[in-house]
Symmetry: C2
């Protein structure tokens, strides 16, 4: 069929037109118009012939040519701290699904949570002429977003939010409150928080929600009991170590704003001879697939990660239509498991 192994030359509008004896522009209108909008484009009969031949020859429009003319690429750029962070990977799956359904393709790039890298990656995507950006690593203290706004670049935030910009996130304050209510009900009165990175709204909101609710319930929580940390297992390890050293008497429960930090905490607790669920209650966040599969299943605030990704795409599409969109916060739910099931 293709003996030389060279990619066959793709079928073009001109090819179709030549075979049918009509003009390329007519073919374009037939294939492009939304079936109704083909006002005076062609007769029903011609339209049928065009569509038939297109199918037969496997015509697929050249996206580069289309983009050149229409100034739209139907590509979105997605920036995340790292795809090897399961949370972002799942959100990205949601993005990819929703984007594909809408006829968009997506580029993802890792910024490693470094503002310099984030800026560099953003420029690469803009140089590619993406139609819009989904930014999953927004820093509370950055100025990239301000610049992008000035340059008229359409974008939305995902996962982390920043006041004044459109975003698709979990209602993290609510998630923190759920964790606080749960631990309070279980009889805990001394708690500590593994709070995550202070530049990320996820960490800040979850912590703030927890603390707010805790105080509402009449609990006390000191500054020492709130430890900022990296989001990964090592961060959770170190933070737990700090908490165990700083708090006397030690807390009876921990809230980690991230499942991986929680897993790190488990390790540290174990090496201090403390068993999770019995000597120390533990609640994580995101309910990643591992939480329920751990030797001692981990309680976790479930956030709808796939849905957050899908929502980000919807929002970005509305931004592109010129709508003024608000931030969307999706509801988390609490999954109680063995790590915090015991009544004190």
């Amino acid at each position: 069929m293709n003996p030389k192994g060279s990619a066959e030359r793709a079928v073009t509008l001109k090819d179709l037109a030549a075979r049918l004896g009509i003009h390329p522009s007519t073919v374009s209108r037939v294939l492009h118009s939304d079936s109704a909008q083909a006002r005076g484009a062609a007769s029903a009969e011609t339209a049928l012939r065009v569509r038939e031949l297109a199918r037969e020859l496997g015509y697929s429009p050249d996206p580069q040519a289309t983009s050149l003319r229409t100034r739209r690429t139907r590509m979105f750029g997605v920036i995340v701290p790292r795809l090897s962070d399961l949370v972002l990977a799942i959100m990205y799956e949601g993005i990819e699904e929703a984007a594909a359904e809408a006829g968009y393709s997506t580029f993802v790039m890792n910024s490693r949570d470094d503002p310099e890298e984030e800026r560099r990656k953003t420029e690469i995507m803009l140089a590619r002429r993406v139609d819009g950006l989904i930014i999953g690593d927004a820093h509370l203290d950055g100025n990239l977003l301000h610049d992008l706004t000035n340059r008229g670049v359409p974008f939305v935030l995902m996962n982390r939010r920043i006041e004044g910009y459109p975003s698709a996130t979990c209602d993290d304050a609510l998630g923190g409150r759920l964790a606080a209510s749960h631990l309070w009900e279980k009889g805990h009165r001394r708690v500590a928080v593994i709070a995550g990175e202070p530049y990320a709204s996820t960490a800040v909101d979850r912590t703030a929600g927890f603390v707010d609710r805790w105080r509402e319930l009449g609990g006390a929580i000191s500054e020492d009991a709130i430890v900022w940390s990296r989001f990964d297992t090592v961060g959770g390890r170190d933070a737990t170590e700090k908490i165990l050293h700083a708090c006397a008497p030690p807390p009876t429960a921990l809230f980690a704003v991230n499942d991986f930090a929680a897993i790190g905490a488990i390790g540290t607790l174990r090496s201090h001879g403390l068993q999770v669920g019995r000597d120390m209650a533990l609640v994580g966040y995101n309910d990643t697939s591992l939480a329920s599969q751990l030797p001692i299943p981990l309680s976790s605030v479930h956030s709808p990660m796939n849905e957050i990704g899908r929502t980000a795409v919807q929002l970005l599409r509305r931004v592109l239509k010129g709508e003024h969109v608000q931030a969307v916060q999706l509801r988390p739910t609490l999954c109680v498991r063995e790590s915090s099931a015991l009544q004190l």
Copy 2:
């Protein structure tokens, strides 16, 4: 600066040419040529002026226009079972880095390990006119690759290999052998394998390597002791359950071809009152970041995942240059931890 918030019209070659009073083609040659190849393009002085103005106005060539003319998009398509599989996510990080360094962008899509979906996603990428594909979910029994070859589509495999196609993988047979040698040395004589999906070379090679080595050492291993399973925690759970039911007397060691399956195994063992590392040795595969952070740190065969991703990009670039490339297998190493450290 841009009060209406509309994206500023990008600077084009024509703009530069107009300002300099020369022809766009001259500007193109100056900016495009590899500094030496600009044979008779322009005088050194003119070239300097061109480059200066380009920098000043922030000229960046329109990739769509370039692609249209050159028939190359400088985009690679990447297909993986799922990015939420940490192993693939890390390989993808390697791909992204290497691709970016070479001036390529990458699309990733999830096939969910479904051949139908894989085919669909492949077509989407080809419709986007990617220059080549990196296929991370090759099925041993599929026929997609054959079709792609016939159509002259440049591609390489990653993570999983198939005889006769270029690929970048871990030397999985060796990895299996390392695990076998280790468990044998620790005194184990009854072992079982959580073997993974039989359509994936990773699973097949790791299992075969393990069994080969085991027999070389004089060990016996029955069919019942090799259980095929999904790659995730649930798969590991079910497989372990099966092994504990089928093997009498039970094995003293398990080799799981994937860390997540190993984590699933830990859960099942625990619910049977068996403690990993003491009652049952366990070795996983890939040495994902979690392995060392688990409550009982997991021994695991370390595979150079980032490097595999980078290698896939290098191979694909060589394929594009028309070179005939062979499969590359990168060396794994064994990380022994508490889960299999005890001498029987």
